[in-house]
């Protein structure tokens, strides 16, 4: 009897993390990675424009939402624990292999961003695949990645108003791309019944 229950639980666990869904998460991550890579010139252009006034970190924060989109998308399409993390991490890994300008830094950013994305879905118990869950994920993504940049990119050494400014820019960017855009995509998916394909 005990054995049966365990088997059943194991079966349920396998049903979400099967070969098809793993490939699906990886494909979504790669699609996102390549689309963002195509927008990479935007980052360079923004950085060049902002460097003379010393506000280059703002370019990082302006585009943060775009870089952290694969997480919530994968989290919404494959609704189980770990999918947002894996999607976001693989999305970053794509950049490394395409020869992005971050090198090993992208792997670590991917880990941090993936953790941030996942935490929001975890805090809402993987039950809120709606506006609440999405906002929780956005909130944790912004807080975690910003905390990381305080060390990694030296944000902690700026004056408080500038730190707050960068935080607000990052929040808006993540809200627009990770929130509004993801919501629009999920709406299209729902209307098309694509989950049942």
């Amino acid at each position: 009897m005990d054995n049966k229950v365990e088997n059943h639980q194991q079966h349920q666990r396998q049903s979400a993390w099967n070969l098809r869904n793993i490939i699906l998460i990886a494909l979504i991550a790669i699609f996102c990675g390549i689309i963002f890579w195509g927008a990479g010139f935007l980052y360079t252009a923004l950085t060049v424009a902002l460097t003379p006034i010393g506000m280059a970190p703002a370019a990082n924060d302006l585009l943060m939402g775009l870089w952290t989109m694969a997480g919530p998308l994968a989290g919404f399409v494959i609704r189980t624990y770990g999918s947002a993390f894996l999607g976001e991490f693989l999305g970053a890994a794509v950049e490394v292999f395409l020869g992005g300008q971050w090198g090993a830094g992208a792997f670590i950013s991917g880990l941090v961003q993936g953790f941030g994305s996942e935490l929001g879905f975890a805090l809402t118990g993987y039950k809120h695949y709606d506006w609440i869950g999405l906002n929780a994920s956005i909130f944790t993504t912004v807080v975690i990645t910003f905390a990381w940049d305080i060390y990694k990119n030296g944000y902690g050494h700026f004056a408080l108003p500038m730190i707050i400014g960068l935080f607000v820019i990052r929040y808006i960017s993540t809200f627009v791309f990770g929130g509004l855009l993801t919501k629009a995509i999920v709406k299209l998916l729902n209307r098309s019944n694509a989950y049942n394909l």
């Binding site: 460097t51 280059a56 292999f97 090198g103 090993a104 299209l188």
Partner: protein, 217 residues
């Protein structure tokens, strides 16, 4: 060196230098990585890209820390070299190891379930096709008079539809070639972690610790 251990070492060092503040150690890491890459005979074009593209973020961080930071120019130089240290450390892995070997060693030596190793590998092998697919989606939208950009939901929607379809096809193709999830496999190419690999990992990581401990500038 075993690709899995190499990646582990690179990530450990990159993680560590994100928190430490030693200009000289950053420069040493860049130099050692550069020598390692050059020994593997990379093309001049790849080397140029490695030096050129990170210049923008590195310079951006430098100027902003210099103008507005409270830690002075020394810290600005640390951030500048940190970006390059990430890039060159990463290059020692990406320019000299294949993603296939990484997947194989992760499965065989790091006990990653085979469905993750081969599933993700299968998807990564589709990368050229995915680039193509994005072009097709954009072009066919253009023919209907719609321009799709990276902020258009339709672009991602269609990308996800393709992903759903392809993942189904790939998974079925793999199953019909005899791939069974969660079952022991035999391997055509066996990758082992040798004692030398472990020794290199430990010695190199210890060397970085020693440098970070003794070189404070």
């Amino acid at each position: 060196m075993n690709p899995g251990l190499k990646l582990l070492l690179v990530m450990l060092i990159a993680l560590e230098i994100s928190f430490t503040q030693s200009l000289i150690v950053n420069v040493i890491l860049i130099a050692v990585s550069l020598i390692y890459i050059l020994l593997h005979r990379i093309s001049f074009k790849a080397l140029f890209a490695l030096v050129f593209w990170p210049l923008f973020p590195a310079l951006g961080l430098f100027v902003s820390q210099w103008l507005y930071g409270d830690a002075g120019i020394h810290f600005a130089w640390i951030l500048f070299t940190r970006i390059y240290a990430y890039v060159f450390l990463g290059a020692t892995f990406t320019l000299t190891s294949s993603i296939t070997d990484l997947a194989l060693t992760l499965e065989q030596d790091f006990r990653l379930p085979s469905k993750f190793a081969y599933g993700v590998l299968a998807a990564f092998n589709l990368m050229p096709k995915i680039t193509e697919e994005i072009k097709i989606i954009k072009t066919s939208a253009l023919m209907r008079g719609e321009a799709l950009h990276f902020w258009s939901p339709e672009l991602y929607f269609k990308a996800i539809l393709s992903s759903i379809q392809w993942s189904q096809n790939l998974a079925e193709a793999m199953t019909s070639h005899g791939f069974v999830e969660d079952q022991d496999r035999t391997h055509y190419k066996i990758i082992k972690i040798t004692t030398l690999d472990w020794a290199l990992l430990i010695v190199l990581f210890a060397a970085v610790q020693a440098m970070l401990y003794f070189i404070r500038y």
